[in-house]
Symmetry: C2
DNA sequence: TAGATTGTTAATCGATTAACAATC
DNA sequence: TAGATTGTTAATCGATTAACAATC
């Protein structure tokens, strides 16, 4: 175990490893090599070994990695050996879609509160959770020990919601709104804005003008 | 204008610039400096100047960038000076949420077809588009000149859908399913899997065990 | 023992940032 | 002219990959 600073690029690959290891575990595969992981995940095997070695000596020379053991270790690294409570702010279509994924998220991360500004939404139930007004955000986040917030409100409300999440002592935010949020440095933000992703894909459509329809 | 290879990191920042420039344009701000862009977008001004300089000399020394002109140029770079047709595959909650964003996406990128495997969904309308069976995917993609596919089907169907999109001649895929898709190198893939994002956020919740509730 | 595969160092590659001459 | 800001080169920083001794 080193105590170097771990880069975000490394941290973001850990859940990818975890996801594939969970599949292997379901299939009762006992061990896996960095080479096989690399093939399946489109990553360089040396990179995978290096990523894992930041956190400990998890593998066995000549053998590879024990699947169950590695799952346990990665969960520990990601703080997923305890339940992590999540708040969802914005009960629109996207928010509802995400809350349905609650089931798919491995048990240890759970949406436990949903907030919205619209009176029409408040009091309704989303996946068995009653939608609360945003006024109650700070109080509820503190009361339930919520550590992560997901923002799915319109972009013009996103900063205000972020401010409240910060005021409530949240540790990290997943932001689906197309805005750059300003938060104190101790709060981690990941941008999950798919419009950016989608627009950038258009760049790679070279030579394509001749592919459009209606040219006859 | 250089003809160096542009890195993906640069390309992914272009839509971020574009989004902010569109805001400035609405407010009728005539010019903007790399310094101001950097402040608002949390980026280094030198990086912004360098990014833009890959594609041309868009700025004026002592003045900055003309907002309207830069918008026009970035749109051209991203191939957004023509309409780009998009197919959405998977009409579940997430797919429906995304299709609602059609309105928000600047006009030139448009979801023009929606597909699903479930008989119960086929024939229904999502944002005025009739959901078609996946069997019709290849034919429709070709007929409508669709260039980008968005995958929002369950993970176990994602590779099959990707194969069909590729067979139909698609140029790029935005993949929301939690799987690494295998496609030929000429097809561009962006992973938009938010479970990975969310799990990696947990890493940054250090010191937090004492924050959980129910410890009394 | 022979083959496989890790953990780690060194080499490479690429991306970000600083600095500044050019110039509006 | 003086101040501002670009475009670009050079310096720095960081991430990826190759290579290999250690060892199961």
């Amino acid at each position: 175990m080193k105590s170097e600073k771990i880069s975000d690029a490394v941290v973001r690959r850990l859940p990818v490893y975890l996801r594939f290891l969970n599949e292997l575990s379901l299939r009762e595969v006992p061990t896996v090599s960095s080479q096989e992981l690399g093939q399946k995940l489109d990553l360089n095997p040396a990179q995978i070994r290096k990523d894992l070695a930041y956190f400990g000596d998890f593998g066995r020379k000549g053998i590879g990695y024990d699947v169950s053991y590695l799952i346990e270790k990665i969960r520990q690294i990601l703080n997923l050996d305890q339940q992590i409570n999540v708040a969802l702010v914005g009960a629109g279509n996207l928010g509802q879609a995400l809350s349905n994924y609650n089931a798919y998220l491995k048990d240890n991360m759970k949406i436990v509160a949903v907030f919205d500004a619209a009176p029409s939404k408040i009091g309704s139930k989303i996946n068995n959770i009653t939608v609360q007004p945003i006024d109650e955000l700070v109080e509820t986040v503190k009361a339930l020990g919520i550590r992560i917030g997901i923002i799915t409100v319109p972009h013009f409300e996103a900063q205000r919601v972020a401010d409240q999440l910060v005021a409530a002592g949240i540790g990290a935010i997943l932001n689906f709104a197309p805005t750059i949020l300003k938060v104190p440095p101790e709060v981690r933000i990941h941008a999950a804005d798919f419009t950016t992703d989608l627009l950038s894909l258009a760049y790679y459509l070279h030579d394509g003008k001749e592919l459009t329809s209606n040219e006859s």
